[in-house]
C-alpha cells in the first residue's frame, strides 16, 4: 500500500507506519494557512417547502401557490414568505439561491447528497462539511472543533471517526438545565472530583510507562486523553455550552423555543472558537397540514432565531468570519396534496447563504412559474457545497488521500455558484 509521508499528512491517519510525532512535526512544517473562517450549518430536517418559504409563486394556480403571500424585503425586487418579516428586513445580509435541483427525494439519500456535495455511492463514504473543516482547521486545544446540535447530520466518511462531531446529545430547552453529552459534568460530579479521578487514573495508568512513544495507539490515547481532559475541565468549554450565562434579553431575542435556543447555542459556540457547528432544526417534512405547521410553528420561530443569529454575529463583528448555510435535503411538491400538505420534491429547492465572502442582498437562480424545477440548468447540491466550502476557505477541488487507496477530490462535480461570493 502506497504510503508517502505527504499523503499520510493529508489523511491525518494514525496507526500507520508514520509515527504520530512525525505526523505532528510534519503538520507543523506544512504550515497550513488558516483561513480564520468558522461556519454554521442550519439544517432544516425534513425538506422545507421552497414555495412556501423563499420561492413563492403568487401567480400560480391556487392548488400550487398555497395559502401564503409574499412580502417585500429590504432588497427591491426580492420577496419572501409573509411569515418571515424579520428575515425580510434583513435580506441585505444574506443571499438566496433558488433552483437547486437533484433527483434524490429520499430523506437519507437526499440529506447525504446535500450534506456531502457528492452523489451518494456504496463505493466511497463522503465526509460532511463539518468533518472536512475540522480536518483542515482544528480548534483550540480545550475546545472541540466540530459540534453538532443535537444529532450529527451525516458523518466524517473517509476522513475517519476522528473527524466526527461532538454531538450535544440533546437540544437545549429553555428553563431546563442543558447537558452536553461528554462535556457537562453530571450531578454530583464536580471539577474537583473529576480532577481527583484523573489523578488516580494517572497513578495507575503505567502499563506503557517508558514506551509512550512506541506505538501510535499509545500515543494517540495519551494525546486525546489529555485533550479530553482540557475540554471537560476547562472553563472555556464549559462556559461555551453553559446557556445559563446568557442574559434574559438574549434568550428572548432568540426566542424561548427549540429553534431559538439551538441557534443561540450555535452562536455562542462560534464566539467561543468552535470552527463548525451544525444546528438541526426539525419538523419540516410537512406531508400534511403544511400551512398550519409552517405558518404557526416553524416559520415564526425560524424567522426569529435566524434573524437573532445574524444580528448577534454582526454586532460582535463575526459575520465576516463566519460562513452560514441554511438548507434542507429537498423541496416539496408543487401541487398541494389531499392532506393540505406537500410531499417530497427534489427537483427544486433553495438555500440561504450568509457571512464570509457571500455577496448579500441578492437572489441567484430561479424556478418556473409553478416552482417545479429550475429555469435553465439550475444548481446542483455539488455546486452549493462548493460554494459553501469555498466561503469557509477550503478549496473544493482539494484532494484528500482517502482511506480507500486513492486520492479523492472533495467536491468533484461542483463549482462555486457564480456571483455568490466576492
Amino acid at each position: 500500500m502506497r504510503i508517502s509521508r505527504r499523503h499520510m499528512l493529508q489523511a491525518g491517519v494514525l496507526g500507520t507506519s508514520l509515527s504520530l510525532s512525525n505526523f505532528l512535526r510534519l503538520q507543523a512544517e506544512e504550515g497550513k494557512p488558516d483561513s480564520g473562517r468558522s461556519a454554521i450549518l442550519v439544517f432544516l430536517g425534513g425538506g422545507p417547502a421552497h414555495q412556501d418559504t423563499f420561492d413563492l409563486k403568487p401567480k400560480a394556480p391556487s392548488e400550487y401557490r398555497g395559502l401564503f403571500s409574499p412580502i417585500q424585503t429590504a432588497v427591491p425586487g426580492v420577496e419572501i414568505c409573509e411569515h418571515m418579516p424579520r428575515l425580510a428586513k434583513r435580506a441585505d445580509q444574506y443571499a438566496l439561491i433558488r433552483g437547486i435541483t437533484h433527483s434524490l427525494a429520499d430523506h437519507g439519500l437526499g440529506t447525504r447528497y446535500v450534506m456531502t456535495g457528492n452523489l451518494p455511492t456504496p463505493v466511497v463514504d463522503y465526509p460532511m462539511f463539518g468533518s472536512i473543516v475540522s480536518h483542515e482547521y482544528p480548534s483550540k486545544q480545550d475546545l472541540p472543533s466540530f459540534v453538532s446540535i443535537d444529532r450529527p447530520v451525516e458523518g466524517p466518511g473517509y476522513l475517519g471517526a476522528e473527524y466526527g462531531p461532538l454531538s450535544t446529545g440533546e437540544k437545549p430547552r429553555f428553563g431546563q438545565p442543558f447537558r452536553v453529552r461528554g462535556i457537562t459534568l453530571d450531578d454530583g460530579l464536580t471539577v474537583q472530583k473529576y480532577n481527583l479521578r484523573r489523578r488516580l487514573r494517572d497513578d495507575i495508568d503505567t502499563a506503557f510507562k517508558g514506551y509512550e512513544s512506541l506505538d501510535d495507539a499509545v500515543r494517540g490515547l495519551n494525546r486525546f486523553s489529555e485533550q479530553a481532559y482540557q475540554i471537560i475541565s476547562s472553563t472555556r468549554s464549559r462556559n461555551a455550552f453553559d446557556l445559563s450565562l446568557e442574559t434574559d434579553r438574549e434568550v428572548d431575542r432568540f426566542g424561548r423555543h427549540e429553534f431559538g435556543q439551538s441557534a443561540m447555542l450555535a452562536t455562542r459556540l462560534i464566539e467561543a472558537g468552535v470552527r463548525f457547528v451544525t444546528v438541526l432544526l426539525e419538523g419540516w417534512d410537512t406531508h400534511q397540514d403544511n400551512f398550519n405547521t409552517l405558518g404557526r410553528e416553524l416559520l415564526p420561530s425560524f424567522d426569529q432565531s435566524l434573524s437573532a443569529m445574524l444580528d448577534r454575529l454582526g454586532e460582535r463583528g463575526l459575520l465576516e468570519s463566519t460562513s452560514i448555510l441554511v438548507t434542507g435535503e429537498f423541496g416539496r411538491t408543487p401541487k398541494i396534496n389531499g392532506n393540505a400538505g406537500r410531499d417530497h420534491w427534489s427537483r427544486a429547492m433553495c438555500a440561504l447563504l450568509a457571512g464570509g465572502a457571500v455577496r448579500p442582498g441578492q437572489v441567484i437562480g430561479s424556478t418556473n412559474d409553478k416552482a417545479e424545477g429550475p429555469v435553465g440548468t439550475g444548481f446542483s447540491p455539488d455546486d452549493l457545497a462548493a460554494t459553501f466550502l469555498q466561503n469557509i476557505g477550503v478549496d473544493p477541488k482539494k484532494e484528500f488521500a482517502a482511506n480507500v487507496g486513492r486520492p479523492i477530490t472533495v467536491i468533484r462535480n461542483g463549482s462555486p455558484i457564480p456571483g455568490a461570493l466576492s
Binding site: P122, L185, I204, A217, I231
Partner: protein
C-alpha cells in the same frame, strides 16, 4: 482498442545450481544458433540515441509507455478525466485507440493537427514537451534526447497505431530482491518485458516506478532505488499491462543492548510452521522477535480476539494458577467451544459480507438480525467457510420445488408472534442479494468482488484499474453475470401475489411487488399469511458467454443460475483470491496489519509482506476443507500471535513483520460489553457475559448499529464496501466518552457489583479493601494488581466517602487507562 490480457506478472529471476547453469548456457547458445532466440533487445534509450536511427517505434511497446514514463498520461495531466489543455489521454495508457485518436487529431485550441507526419518538428506533440511552444507541463525532454528521437521517428514513419494489441507475458526484474547492506549504495533495476511471441526487450527506460513506503526506500524515475531507512517494503514496476513488485529490505541496526536478555535468532526454535516463516523473514531484517507474552496478557488477548469478551476474574485466577504446560492450547480449544466465539465471528462475517439494517429490502432490523443469527448458527455448527459462502451466494427465496404459497407461508411464519419458525434453520441465506444496494448489476459486482475476493473493482468502472489488470471490459462482463439475480415477484407468481396482496390490503403498484407495510406486518405478527417478494433467477433472452474476471469464459444458458459458475471457480484451489482474502482478513483480525494490507485490496501492487507464510496458510486452509476453527487455532497457538508487546533492541521499529505484538484498540462492541461486564453484580456476571441477546457482539449488534457509542468507537455501518469502515484508532470523542459520557456514568452509578458491596457493608460482611481492589483489577484489566497498584487502590478506597464510592472512582480510573482499551 483496449487491452485484453495479461494475467501473469510475477517477478522472475532464475537461480540455478552450478552445473545446471553451465549446461543451460550451452543449451542457450545452441538455441540462439538454432532458433534465433535473442538476448533481450537493448533499451530504447540506447537504440534511439543516434540521430540516424532507422527503427520504427511501436505505439504499444514504446510510444504509450514513454508517455507514461514522462508523466504525460498521469492523473494530474492529460490522463485526468477532463484532460489538460484540451488533450485527453487514457490514464496511464490503457486505451490505445483513444490515445491514437487524440494524438492524431486536431487540437481545437491551436487549430492544427497535433502531429504532422511530413513535418515532424512542427508537431505539437514534440513542440510542447520540448517547450518550443507554451506548455503548462514544462519541458519533458531535451532536444535530440532519445525520447525526442523516439517520438520524432514514430511521427515521421507514419505515426501508426495498434491494430491488434500484443500480449505481454510477464516482466522480469533484476534484481528480484534488494537487500541493502551497511553501505546502502543505491541499486538500479533492470526490467525486461517478455512478450507472448517470446520477444524480449529491456524496457527499463520506459517503465514507471513507485515505492510503497518512502520512509524505507525511494525510487527515482529511472528505477534507481535508494535506502531511506531500515525496514522492508516493495518497489512496484509498471509497464504496459504488467505490474511487478520487488521486495526491498534493509536490516535493522541493533541498538546497543541495555538489557542483558536478548534472544538471538538461533535460540528461537519455531513452534509451528507459521513461526518458521515469520522468523525466516525476520532473519533477513536482523530482527529478533520479542519473547512470548505473559499468561494474563495471553488470556485477555485471546479471549478478546476469539470471543470478543473479557475473561472473568475467576477464570483469570484459575488460568494463572494452572500448572499444566499445555494450558494455553487447552484454553484455545475451550474458547472455540463457547457461543461467544460464534457470536463474535458472526459479527466479523457480517462485517465482511455487509449486513446493514438500512440497506435491507424491507424490515431492516428484523432481516439483518435474521442474517446475523443464520451466520451465528453456522459458525456454532462449525460449517466450513466455503460452505457458508456457498449457502449465501447460491441462495434463493424458495427451497427447491417449493410453491409460491408455501414460500409465502414460511416467510410469514418467521415473523408471527406465536411460535415463529426459526429463520436460522434455513439451508440458504437470501438477504445478501436482496439488499437495495445489490439491485444494480454493477453495484452487485463491486460488492461481491470486495466481500468474497478482497479485490477493489470500482476503479475499473470508469477506467482501467491503475495497478491491477482489471479493464472496463472485465468489469462490465463480470457485472453481467448478476443481471438475472432478481428480487421481486416471479412472472408466474404475480397473479397469486396480487390475489394475496389484495386480501391483506397490501397495495401493489407494479409487477415487482411491494414491501410489507406496517399494517400488513401487524397481520403477519398475528399469524396471517401474506405474500412476500422473493429472490429468484430470471431468464436471459439468449445464451450469453462472459469472461469471468480473466479466469476463462463461461457460457450461461437462458435459465442458468449465473452464480453457480462463480462459486465453482471460487472453490477451485487455483482461485487466487477466495481463500486468500478470507485467510488474510482473519490474520488481520489478530494483528495490527494483515499479511497483505489493507486486506481488502489484493492486487499486484500491494504484495504480501511474507508471501511464503500467506501461501502456506492458504494452502493448508484449503487442504483442511476451509475449517475455520482450524485456521483460528493455527494462528493463535503460534508464538507469533503470542508475542509480547514489549520490544527488544532489534524490533522497536517493526510494525509489519509480526516480531512483536503491536497494541490494538478494543473493537467498539468489546468496549461496550466490557464496561457492562466490569460493573455487573457477581451473580449476574455470568449472564451478562453469556446472554448473547443482550450483548453488543451478539444479537444487539444490529440494534446498536448507528448508536452514539458504536459510532464513536468505529463500529462500521457497513454502508460502503471497505474494511476501513471499522475504525480501530483512538480519537478525541472516545476519550471524552469513557471519561464523561452519561452512559458510562450511568453504568457506574447503577453498578450491580457496587450495590452488592453496599449491601455487604451494611450487613457487616464486606470484603477487605485489598480484595476489592484486586477484584476491580481483575474485572477490568484481567490481571492481579502489582503491590504499588494495590496500595494505591486501597488508599483510594480509604480516602473516599465510602468504600463503595472509592471503588466507583477506581473503576472509572481503570476503564480510562490505556491498558483497558488496548489489547496488548
Amino acid at each position: 482498442m483496449t487491452r485484453i490480457n495479461l494475467v501473469n506478472s510475477r517477478v522472475q529471476f532464475l537461480r540455478l545450481p552450478g552445473f545446471v547453469l553451465r549446461l543451460s548456457i550451452f543449451a542457450i547458445i545452441t538455441l540462439i544458433v538454432a532458433n534465433g532466440f535473442a538476448e533481450p533487445l537493448p533499451p530504447a534509450s540506447q537504440r534511439f540515441a543516434d540521430s540516424d536511427v532507422t527503427e520504427t517505434p511501436d505505439f504499444q511497446k514504446h510510444v504509450v509507455p514513454l508517455l507514461g514514463r514522462l508523466g504525460c498520461n498521469g492523473r494530474s495531466c492529460h490522463g485526468s478525466f477532463q484532460g489538460r489543455g484540451d488533450l485527453r489521454l487514457s490514464l496511464f495508457g490503457y486505451d490505445f485507440q483513444m490515445d491514437h485518436n487524440s494524438l492524431t487529431a486536431k487540437s481545437p485550441s491551436e487549430q492544427t493537427l497535433r502531429l504532422l507526419v511530413k513535418q515532424p518538428d512542427e508537431s505539437l506533440v514534440l513542440q510542447k514537451p520540448l517547450m518550443q511552444v507554451e506548455h503548462e507541463g514544462g519541458e519533458r525532454f531535451a532536444v535530440d534526447s532519445w525520447q525526442h528521437r523516439l517520438l520524432r521517428r514514430w511521427i515521421e514513419s507514419g505515426a501508426a497505431g495498434v491494430d491488434e494489441p500484443q500480449q505481454l507475458d510477464r516482466l522480469e526484474v533484476e534484481p528480484a530482491e534488494v537487500v541493502f547492506d551497511d553501505s546502502a549504495s543505491p541499486v538500479s533495476l533492470r526490467v525486461v518485458a517478455v512478450w507472448g511471441n517470446d520477444q524480449r526487450e529491456d524496457v527499463t527506460p520506459l517503465c514507471r516506478f513507485r515505492t510503497n513506503d518512502d520512509s524505507v526506500a525511494s525510487v527515482d524515475a529511472d528505477g534507481l532505488i535508494m535506502s531511506a531507512g531500515s525496514g522492508d517494503t516493495h518497489v512496484i514496476v509498471f509497464y504496459d499491462n504488467g505490474v511487478a513488485s520487488v521486495p526491498v529490505l534493509r536490516p535493522y541496526r541493533s541498538v546497543p543492548a541495555s538489557s542483558p536478555k536478548t534472544v538471538s535468532t538461533a535460540d528461537v526454535s519455531p513452534q509451528s510452521p507459521i513461526d518458521g516463516f515469520v522468523i525466516k523473514k525476520l532473519g533477513k531484517l536482523s530482527i529478533t522477535p520479542s519473547a512470548v507474552c505473559s499468561d494474563s496478557e495471553f488470556l485477555r488477548r485471546v479471549s478478546i480476539d476469539l470471543t470478543g469478551t473479557l475473561p472473568e476474574p475467576r477464570e483469570v485466577e484459575g488460568f494463572l494458577a494452572d500448572t499444566n504446560l499445555n494450558k494455553r492450547d487447552h484454553k484455545i480449544d475451550e474458547l472455540l467451544q463457547r457461543p461467544a466465539y460464534a457470536a463474535w465471528w458472526a459479527n466479523k462475517l457480517c462485517d465482511f459480507t455487509g449486513c446493514n439494517p438500512s440497506q435491507q429490502a424491507e424490515l431492516g432490523q428484523e432481516t439483518s438480525v435474521q442474517w446475523y443469527m443464520w451466520v451465528y448458527e453456522r459458525i456454532r455448527e462449525n460449517v466450513a467457510y466455503d460452505d457458508i459462502v456457498r449457502r449465501i451466494i447460491l441462495a434463493k427465496g424458495r427451497d427447491e420445488g417449493q410453491s409460491y404459497d408455501d414460500y409465502s407461508a414460511e416467510v410469514s411464519s418467521y415473523f408471527r408472534e406465536q411460535s415463529p419458525t426459526d429463520f436460522a434453520q434455513r439451508t440458504t441465506m437470501p438477504h445478501y442479494w436482496t439488499r437495495r444496494s445489490m439491485q444494480k448489476p454493477d453495484a452487485a459486482a463491486q460488492a461481491f468482488a470486495h466481500n468474497f475476493l478482497g479485490i477493489r473493482l470500482q476503479c475499473a468502472e470508469c477506467h482501467k484499474h491503475p495497478f491491477a489488470p482489471w479493464t472496463q471490459d472485465d468489469f462490465r462482463e463480470f457485472s453481467r453475470f448478476f443481471e438475472t439475480v432478481k428480487f421481486g415477484v416471479e412472472p408466474q407468481s404475480i397473479e397469486r401475489y396480487r390475489e394475496l396482496a389484495s386480501q391483506v390490503g397490501l397495495s401493489v403498484r407494479d409487477n415487482n411487488g411491494a414491501a410489507v407495510n406496517n399494517d400488513v406486518f401487524k397481520q403477519v405478527q398475528r399469524g396471517r399469511m401474506v405474500p412476500w417478494r422473493e429472490l429468484y433467477i430470471s431468464s436471459r433472452n439468449e445464451p450469453t458467454t462472459l469472461s469471468l474476471l480473466r479466469s476463462g469464459k463461461v457460457t450461461l444458458q437462458q435459465n442458468d443460475d449465473p452464480r453457480k459458475p462463480i462459486m465453482k471457480w471460487m472453490d477451485e484451489p487455483s482461485n487466487p483470491w477466495f481463500a486468500q482474502a478470507f485467510v488474510n482478513r482473519v490474520w488481520a483480525s489478530y494483528f495490527n496489519v494483515g499479511i497483505v494490507d489493507p486486506p481488502d485490496d489484493l492486487n499486484p501492487a500491494n504484495p504480501p509482506s511474507n508471501p511464503a507464510l500467506l501461501e502456506w496458510l492458504v494452502d493448508e486452509f484449503v487442504q483442511h476443507d476451509f475449517d475455520m476453527k482450524w485456521l483460528h487455532r493455527q494462528i493463535v497457538s503460534s508464538d507469533t500471535y503470542q508475542r509480547s508487546w514489549v520490544p527488544n533492541n532489534t524490533n522497536r521499529e517493526d510494525r509489519r513483520n509480526f516480531s512483536r505484538a503491536v497494541p490494538r484498540r478494543l473493537p467498539a462492541e468489546v468496549v461496550y460489553d466490557g464496561v457492562k461486564q466490569a460493573v455487573a453484580a457477581s451473580d449476574k456476571a455470568d449472564d451478562v457475559r453469556s446472554d448473547l441477546s443482550r450483548r453488543a457482539i451478539g444479537h444487539l449488534s444490529m440494534r446498536l448499529a448507528g448508536t452514539y457509542a458504536m459510532q464513536v468507537f468505529g463500529k462500521p455501518d457497513r454502508a460502503v464496501n471497505c474494511d476501513c469502515e471499522r475504525v480501530n484508532q483512538p480519537t478525541l470523542l472516545q476519550a471524552i466518552f469513557l471519561q464523561n459520557d452519561p452512559l458510562v456514568d450511568q453504568r457506574l452509578e447503577d453498578s450491580g457489583w457496587l450495590a452488592q458491596i453496599d449491601g455487604q457493608i451494611a450487613a457487616g460482611t464486606a470484603p477487605t479493601g485489598e480484595s476489592l481492589v484486586k477484584e476491580a483489577w481483575l474485572r477490568t484489566l484481567s490481571r492481579v494488581p502489582q503491590p504499588d497498584e494495590l496500595a494505591r487502590g486501597v488508599k483510594c478506597l480509604a480516602e473516599a466517602e465510602s468504600a463503595t464510592q472509592g471503588l466507583r472512582d477506581l473503576l472509572w480510573a481503570l476503564i480510562n487507562t490505556k491498558e483497558f482499551v488496548l489489547i496488548r
